[in-house]
Structures are given as structure tokens and as C-alpha cells.
Amino acid sequence: MENTQLSFEQILNATVRMLRTTWKTRVCLFLQMDDQGQLQVRASDGLPLKKVSALAVNPQEDPYAACFSKNRIVEVDAAAPMGSLTKLLKPLLKKGQKFVLVPVSGETRVLGILFMGPYPRKARILPREAELRSAGALCAVLSAHWRLYQWMSNFMPQLNHDLRTPLTAVQGSIGMVLGGMFGQVGGDVKEMLEMAQKGCERTVRAIEVYINTQTPK
């Protein structure tokens, strides 16, 4: 059967493609806050993702600061510097155009920015604030899921490792004693050690089931 499961990258890119079509613009980018406090392009339509995904901008610098820090939808003159995006956007621009920056807001803070444009300067975008914020909210949900997905991708293999390592010492020691490496054991001691060994085996099986099958592929 064909594998139809989409990755988070594909879902986010499909979302920005949908937003670009809905909002009738040439470029739609989703910039997500990374661990270094920079806004990094996570999804793109209208600009090749391979080129833009390496780019990051400072959320504390204009024109992003007004949107990111104040949680406001901002219109930016297309001629204004856009940080590392300026060079890529320049060929697309005509005089008198603007970009719209929409905050991607989580419950307590801004998680990123939706970058759309260029629009003619006179285009009335701001009156549709509620719709723009909904578009931002959709990206916020996807952003939060992506962060969780990334966290799980790192956490599960680490947990797998950290549970298996001490179990190796426990099971290994018991195995050597039961295997007769230090002389024969019998009676109650043997019975108790076999019980401990079975407990280890059950724990390993549980790790296999819960961790190996739940880690994002």
C-alpha cells in the first residue's frame, strides 16, 4: 500500500501554499522561532525552500520587531531592508509594493511570523485582521506540533538508551551468575535471580513496545 503519511515539513509547506493561494500573493513564508532566538524559515511557497531554509532573521530588528514583540500585524514597504531575506525578495519586487507580517501567536507568546506579499501599497489587507490572525493561529498549531515532534524525535532514542544501559549491567550480572561463571548457584538464590532476570526481560519488552513503536519516524 502506498505510504500517504505526510511529514510535518510537507504539512507546513502545504499550509503556506494554501495561504498564498487564498491571499493571492507571490510569496508566503512561515518563520519559526528557533532555539537560538532567531526566526528561521520553516516553510515556503513562492521561494525555493532549499534556499530560504538556511536563512534566519533577528526578531528584535525591524521590520520583524514590531510584529513579533508587539503581536501586531504589520505592513512593511517592500523597499525596506528585510535582513537576510532582502536579496532573495528583491527580484520579485516592483516599486510601491508592500509585505504583510502576521504574528503566529501561541497561548502566551508569539512563536513566529507569517510573511506574505508583495501586495500593491494600496491593497486593503489590514481590515481583514481576523482572517489573518486565523491564518497565523493555524501555523501556530502546526508549529507547536512540529516542536513536539522534534522533541519526541530526540527524547525517545535518548530514553531508550538511558533505560537500556543500566539494564545491561543488571541483566548482564545476573546472567553471568546464573550462567555459572562464578560457580554454581542453586535453591532459593537461583530462583530469586531467575525472577530478577525475568523482570529485566519484561522491562526490555516494554521498552521495545512503548519506545521503539512510539518514536516519530
Binding site: D162, T165, T168, Q171, G172, M181
Partner: protein
Amino acid sequence: MKVLVAEDDPDIQVILKMVLTRLGKCDVAITYQGDQVVPMAKSNRPGLILLDVMLPEMSGFDICKALKADPETASIPIIFLTARSMPSEIQEAMKLGALGYLAKPFDPMALVGQINQILSPLGVSIGA
């Protein structure tokens, strides 16, 4: 046979040394530091390297890559012995040229047999 073990957990080091020495009749050298494996492989010339993935200073995958890229050490068989047992990790290890992959926890009494099974295509064995 000389065996180089790269393992950072002191308890597992003890178990491996005991098993490989007593049951495998091997001459065992152990290091816990990733960046020591390549120099030790060059100076000790082991017949087998048992390699953990998560090691300080240098990961087992990077060590495997370095060993396979160096003509002096490229022919030494490498078996990963690690708690990193996700299918993608096993796949990566094999792609890098490892001969085999054993997941922790392992049964110490069965370890020599498992190693010999992996070594069998090369016509060598331990424990004889």
C-alpha cells in the same frame, strides 16, 4: 584474538571484559573515550572492535567512518554493541561498514556465540 572495546559505562566495561576474557579467550583493551579508538586501533591492531554509539568526544558512527576511511584500520571488523537500537540507527551503522549490530541489554553467556555468528563470513572466531 585482540579485541578493542569502546564503552563508556564502567559496569558494562567490567561485564564485557569478564565475558570476553573468560569465555571468549580474548586479549581485551578498553577505552571509554571516543577519540581514543582510532589511535588505539592503530597501535593495538585488534582483530575486532566492539563499539558503542554514544561515547564522549566522538560518536561511534563517526569512529566507524574514520576507521573505515583509514587504510590502516579499514579491514578491522566492527561490531556495534549499543543501546541505540532504533531501526534507523542500525541501518546507519550498517551503511557505515559495520559487520554487525548487537543491541543492549545482551545476554553475557550468549555474547560470544552472537559475535562468532557475525564474524563467521570472515572465517574467524573467538573463544577457541
